[in-house]
Symmetry: D3
Subunit: 297 residues, 6 copies
């Protein structure tokens, strides 16, 4: 019997490679694609840079931190610069741009900007951890939050991916955000702007779209969508503001949807669970759903 | 103190192994169980066969693709055939069937059928990628979609698992679909039939039941359930059509539920977010939820 | 160009380590933090102890099980005791407790209690598997359920984490439950009390809060929240009953929310999909949502 | 340029596979070859069974040793039996024997004989360690000898390989002895018979041939050859005694050669460094080389 | 106490890096050094290409060999070309050569020449295996020889390293030969020329110098040195013939030394064990050592 | 058949563990044994500290070296201190010493002394590399020597092991030297004292005993023994000078033996190949062997 498969192997190979060519996915055959596995390694190393005490480097102290951090930074830099360069070359190639000679320079300059911002990202994350601690009665300690709250994973990666997004890096920011989505169920597009002291509780099913603007001290729950109203004619919508604005001190309970690029939730408002909002809400509002009557038999 | 645990170790062992025997889970003690870790390896290798350019084999070109694909195919074949054989033996054993001598033949013939269909699966996936590109304003390029859209992971694995399901393979299709569910939050039963040019946006929380029929050019959002009406008396319901039919060109927005085996969403219809549908909808319908009034204080 | 990054490296290092110190996350600098990666190893080993036939130890039989189980138990014990001790030391340190000398004893006694209860956990799990088999028409066999149902992963880990929670172990139970959440999308706080013959179908988006009480023979679906009414003033709410009680034989369909510490769903009740419940429901109730009218154009 | 290699790749492949067929090494194409890497894994596991305290299982004590040893034994058994079966099938195949149905039985019976003898091998090794301790002024302790004396590695593996050799196992004993040779520079053919309390100091370059007989309390140094006189007409010499006999209490210093199947070194003799001996030496002899005069200018 | 080391860490770092600069080993600081670990990976992959049946690819047959070989070849090519290029750049850099632009071309052309010769290398190795089988009464089968004779490892790697040596590749050939030396105790300089049907028995301690010429059907034993007479004024001796010539059909027994660039061992000669030869020996000679008298007391 | 082994498994386990107890190797049952695998990791990391440019850290430059070296040093320190402590505890335990509380202090102080000396070790090694370059006509460059000369491996490890030996560390120095022996065939006891600019060519079979004293600018070849005259009554010989003294500028050719604690090879002497020397030789001597006559037939 085994001979049957073996006999057909050349046929199977030819059919599959023919199918590659007949149904090409890549718009242009390019060798300059970043390597997803390396990007995931980089994410893990950046998470260690952000939370070294919670990553097994328990012996790090004021004498050794300089060397541990410095060594890890230069390792990340080597890998990151190479992936950034591939991403820029991919884009130049796809767009038939002539600037290919500057991919190396752009990669270097993105690296520098990124590491310049890393301490500020850390500062924001320390506030996010505080927000989780203040906002969840089940939290024992801030260390526990770093160890086990999915929002910390999601926000850490988002805050880093957002830097790359703003600097115009292709492909990589989205690989980063999807990695976080896969681990946490929280889907934050790297384009979203998020203020400080941000907390997502539980988080599974949260969707935050590309052009969302979120202020400071915002708290949202599982299943919340900050989305677009419609995506018909997707290509025409590229680069327009399609997602809402959430001002400071807003809380949005589980399962609520806030949709549309012109929808603004005014500061200090609370949006009740399962609310479906497609128009702006003034500051200091308390929006609750007038519930369906329940049949109780 | 350590002695205390050690002293009790024989007791703990005996208690646990006794509990195994007293509360047996397997209906019949059988050595013929597939190996979940190997099946996950196989999935990863099949994903490389489907998207080699996006899996680190960047140097693959028209000269080398034959060898890379051929080598990987024969590796997958060796592993897959063995796991298929174990799955068939498991089933024969569980059902006290006498046919055990043919497990090898069935495994071989499933392998052959599967590799015969792989090029067509690739063709469908190339259309699914196009659907994502056309349907999401945030998509930069088709390569980005392959790298980072969870729906591509979920649909790729589903389209392969469905082949095994249709060929009557026990256990393995469900391990495959649950692997995709764990990574993406999208839960598609391997029995579901899905047409071409299919797109799921975001995807977390999507559930698509075993007997669902989905046409071409369908687009669904996160949190959509295509489910059964009730599962009381589960055993009687086995092998009946319990899940809906979605015709061509239907869009279903986030959080909507379409339930029941006789429920049909007619072609060219749009189902609004959070709609709860248990009866058929005619073609060209636009179903929207008359929203609860919102209390805004 | 490369010189630019390198020239700035000392600056980047100083900025980041300064940011660590200026925005300290840990309440007290402590070397006594458990190691998350080791805890995840322990979880994997405990899953093998619970389902050895489904974990690649296919050759285990009545002669060898004693040695396989015994060897794995003593490996788990070595690792677990060390992590427990670190967790207790962390807590002593954080609370300036003087009892540090007894961390070793507490770790030993928690190990003993845990292994004492493991056979009973197995017994409960065998009933949970039965519940899944009886409750899902798509289930082929109980072996398939162990291999591929996310609820089995979530409940197995919960039942173990709950033992540690009840014994007052810091940090570790939550790392365990979040590991299960990340893999399954099911978020069960380790404090929740869950009776026997429990089944969660699909599961993505389920949230079960810390002080939830669930009886026997309960079945819930994807997207169900058993949560708190509000978490304002989180710190005052610590250690109060904030989550509902679900009595025996209750079924709760997808997307329903049951909120509040005094809310009780009486025995033999059924809660319809998307119901939003903040007050108690008497036994034997059938609660269904009076659906929004649908606009069908 | 890269195209040049790629263009030629099909040519290189064809040339090499043609060369395989034109210059076949295996006498008969057989799928039944043992797997060298697995055999090396087995050796490592057997070394742990022999010296568990020196292999990182430091916590093994009288309670746990039963489980650690039992678990490792059944792992070794699974792997070893499979490799033994492949070796027997290889031999049946090569010799066109009809008995292929009994390879499984022979493998099982060799396993049983081997594990039956393992305690006695341990007993001999404990005497070999003592011999090293008594014989080397540089030895600090017996634990140090187990950790770092190459003779212990070589003799341990020899004593095990010799059991397989005597039971007629093809291929595997020689893979084992060559593994020891590669690590230690000591080349003992698995056919050699070696008595108790045996010590090789330093060891590099020692060669002990297939039909050598060594008594008890023998000590040899680096570079000693116990070899054949000539290997012309190798095939005629197969299965004849070609290597010497060394009686009890003999010491042979570095670089000495003792050659020939009828050469006997009588008991209590000492052979000086660089001696070249092709004839028997009576008991109680002290053989020293009358040294070349040295020119000292 | 721990503080003591930590306090001094900056001092230790400064001292060591100062020592790097004060005692520089590399003649010129170059980033273009090959990577030893990658070269060792390449060697392992080349060994699989030469002996695929003995490397775990047991299922390779006439249908699959093309894909297995082709895939491995293109993997080796990617790695090898990169290492070759680094080696050439290193040399250009060290010698201040201006040709740096051609390192890529040289690497490509060496790859092509190497793969062109690989089938012939295989043909020679098949004869070497035959020589071992014919020359060692202890050999069971040619498969056993491939699995476990150190000479096959040493000669395989030598025959490949020699191709690179002849093509002027820096550094890499010697890393290859030293890798073989470390595994087998056989030290063959990659410059040595070795004819067909070559056998080294046991092998530990064999040294074959850079300018040695060895004919066909030569057999040597452990501890044989084919070396230079003196290495005073080493730098003047570079590129002169310093090592002997061994004509066809010569056997050299263990421990013999043949030294000097003008020393020729004529065809069909036999050199006895421990012979020390610094002058030529005519064809058909039988050289034996007139042994020292032995004192036997 | 399989049942046979399984049936006997408890018997095999009992026999082997009984044999452990009846033939105990360790003089005292102690849990405080160092871990050989960790020590080998430490050796590899120390080799990177000594030759970072040749270990894959190619991008190390004057900016990054501080962080790479600093990070690696603190990693080595953590592991090394723990192993040193285990070694001291082992010794205290074995000798029933009461000082167990100071093992930690001794480990710390040995670490500090070791890292204090590392720069000087590097300085010596840079001279050893120069000696190899000056002494071997086949050497292409000093980088090649670091990459591929076994003497560099052997001497690097020796110079480090010797520091630990002098500081009275049990067990660990010998594990280090035997690791080097296994890789290179060069067996240097960690007690031997070796001057600067030292070169061993080829090296296989070299033995250098514990109390050997070697001056500066010494060169030796493969198969040289610097050994003891006799080891009868080994225990009485402990801590006496049993091995020779080699003064400055001595060359010893292959296969020579220099034996005895009072034997001195005077400065500027040359010892011919295979010489057997048991008495002192004055300075400036040229010792050659008056060769055996050769029978040439």
């Amino acid at each position: 019997m085994e001979n049957d498969f073996k006999k057909n192997l050349p046929h199977y190979i030819e059919q599959l490679t023919n199918s590659y060519h007949a149904n090409s996915i890549s718009e242009k055959i390019s060798l300059n694609l970043p390597d997803k596995e390396v990007i995931i390694e980089i994410i893990s190393e950046l998470e260690i840079l952000l939370f070294p005490q919670h990553s097994g480097n328990k012996k790090m102290d004021e004498t050794t931190e300089k060397y541990i951090v410095g060594n890890l930074m230069q390792i990340v830099y080597q890998k990151l610069k190479k992936q950034l360069k591939l991403a820029f070359l991919y884009e130049y190639d796809r767009k038939n741009q002539k600037l290919m000679h500057s991919a190396d320079e752009r990669a270097e300059s993105v690296c520098m900007e990124f590491f310049e911002q890393l301490p500020e990202i850390y500062r924001y994350l320390s506030m996010d951890v505080q927000a989780a601690f203040d906002g969840d009665p089940a939290a024992e300690s801030k260390d526990q939050i770093v160890f086990s709250y999915p929002c910390i994973t999601a926000i850490s990666i988002h805050r880093m991916a957002h830097v790359f997004y703003r600097l115009g890096v292709p492909i990589i920011p989205r690989i980063m955000s999807e990695y976080a989505h896969s681990k946490t169920g929280i889907d934050i597009h790297p384009g979203a702007t998020i203020g400080k002291y941000f907390f997502i509780d539980h988080g599974t099913g949260v969707v935050i779209g590309e052009t969302t603007m979120i202020g400071d001290h915002v708290k949202i729950y599982q299943g919340v969508t900050l989305g677009a109203l419609s995506t018909r004619n997707a290509s025409k919508l590229r680069n327009t503001k399609r997602h809402p604005t959430i001002e400071d001190n807003v809380t949005i309970y589980s399962g609520a949807s806030v949709l549309g690029g012109e929808t603004v939730i005014g500061r200090n408002s609370t949006i009740g669970g399962s609310a479906f909002i497609t128009e702006s809400v003034p500051p200091n509002s308390m929006v609750s759903v007038r519930r369906n009557e329940l049949n109780i038999e």
